[in-house]
């Protein structure tokens, strides 16, 4: 270990890696390569190199601190092997007790993109007010402008915390809906019926 540390001291990339460690250990949320480059006043390529080094050092099974690529950035978290110890003294305020209604609402906001309460209610067939309120309170969704510009219904989008809780690198990492089941086939068949009736 000592020989590695001497190497770190003498090598500028390792100095940069230390700066990144420092930034990540105090940050409130995942930091993107651009955030890190701005803060460290270094260029993004060198940041990537240093991150590569850190991902090896802070890997599952090697360290209690794990570096992960999540929510469009990098963040430290606890190793999975320590989950039980964490569960003994910490709370899970965000994901505990999410109702079916809240999960469906969250799925709609995540997949449909910014969308309003009436839109959510239309898809679910029931009012979404309390589900929306609980998701806002948990920090999983936030307001994102209004439909049809000013005066329209408030729209909501998912937050980086949503991606973090669900372990997604970005929203693009959500599975395609037609991979989730036969829903698409059913949809096509129902639409066939509908269009045949319409013609």
């Amino acid at each position: 270990m000592d020989s590695t540390l001497r190497l770190i001291v003498s090598n500028p990339v390792d100095r940069l890696a230390r700066t990144i460690e420092a930034l990540l250990v105090v940050a409130a949320a995942p930091l993107s390569v651009a955030d890190l480059a701005d803060a460290a006043e270094d260029d993004p390529e060198r940041i990537e190199t240093a991150l590569g080094l850190l991902r090896e050092r802070y890997a599952e099974g090697r360290s209690g601190i794990v570096l992960e690529h999540v929510a469009g950035g990098y963040a430290f978290r606890a190793a999975r092997e320590s989950a039980d110890a964490c569960a003994r003294i910490f709370e899970r305020p965000v994901e505990r007790g999410l109702s079916q209604a809240a999960l469906e609402t969250l799925a709609i906001v995540a997949y449909v993109g910014p969308c309003s309460r009436p839109e959510i209610a239309r898809i679910r067939g029931v009012a979404a007010d309390s589900a929306v309120a609980s998701l806002i309170e948990r920090g999983l969704i936030v307001e994102a402008g209004r439909e049809h510009g000013p005066g329209g219904a408030v729209r909501y989008r998912t937050t980086p915390l949503f991606e973090r809780v669900f372990g997604l690198e970005s929203l693009a990492a959500l599975p395609r809906l037609d991979d989730l089941g036969e829903a698409d086939d059913l949809r096509r068949r129902l639409l066939d019926v509908a269009s045949a009736k319409a013609s």
Binding site: F90, G125, P150, D184, V193, K197
Partner: protein
């Protein structure tokens, strides 16, 4: 699946077990309360039937949609008896398309919700801190110079009346039942009996369904008698005093 297969669709509900057409007959005879019928259960049974590898039959799907919407309306009326149904003119094609689209979209979202729940299970052993570290430097938020015009436009937005959003897609629309009530009463003031099937011939399926509901209403009020030679034979409607309820042959499975 043929049209008759829709009628023979086997149901296993809390309140009823047997084929779909028996259920409809029992409802018609008022032997069953509409409110006791689990409509979602019927839809599920149909969807299961639909997913069987038979050739898809558009006619039977259409038949099913009409029957199920009539049943839903019946149930809604039973649940909210005093709610006047002020419904606009009917666009059945639009309604069917919208219903199909919404059913499909909702089902996709349910799948997505199930995936999210599963993901919570597998990612639940990833613990991370919410917010900055205990010994992090205090955050200082600084805001770039802003344009006051943005404030004015925000207030204008709030002061603008809501745009008129068309809600026509929000509900499947039916002609009012009262329209058929009046029509049948007029008819029976001139004639003592008529044949329901020929009376509603040429109307759209949903209109036929609503006409059928009107028939049920009149029967419930004791204004008319209904008879039918055999299941799905033409329904004969007559004024009570002129007809003995003769051969009401409910199909017993």
């Amino acid at each position: 699946m043929s049209t008759s297969q829709v009628r023979e669709l086997e149901l296993d509900l809390d309140a009823f077990e047997g084929p779909f057409d028996l259920l409809l007959t029992l409802l018609l005879e008022e032997a069953l309360e509409p409110r006791e019928i689990d409509v979602a259960g019927i839809v599920l049974a149909f969807l299961e039937r639909l997913s069987e590898p038979d050739e898809l039959d558009l006619e039977s799907c259409g038949e099913f949609l009409v029957l199920i919407s009539a049943l839903l309306e019946l149930k809604a009326r039973a649940l909210f008896p005093e709610e006047a149904a002020e419904l606009d003119a009917l666009e059945p094609e639009e309604a069917a398309e919208e219903l199909a689209r919404r059913l499909a979209e909702y089902r996709r979202m349910k799948e997505a919700a199930a995936w999210l729940l599963e993901r919570l299970g597998t990612e639940g052993n990833r613990w991370f801190r919410l917010g900055p570290a205990p010994l992090a430097p205090p955050a200082e938020r600084r805001l770039a110079a802003q344009d006051p015009a943005a404030l004015a436009s925000a207030v204008r937005g709030l002061a603008a009346p809501a745009p008129n959003v068309s809600l026509s897609h929000m509900a499947l629309r039916f002609p009012p039942v009262s329209q058929f009530l009046e029509r049948f009463r007029r008819l029976l003031s001139r004639r003592t009996r008529f044949d329901f099937d020929s009376e509603v011939e040429g109307l759209s399926r949903v209109e036929q369904a609503v006409a059928f509901l009107a028939l049920l209403e009149l029967r419930k009020a004791g204004e008319i008698a209904l008879s039918q030679a055999a299941p799905f034979a033409p329904i004969r409607v007559s004024t009570v005093e002129n007809e003995r309820i003769s051969a009401w042959t409910a199909r017993s499975a």
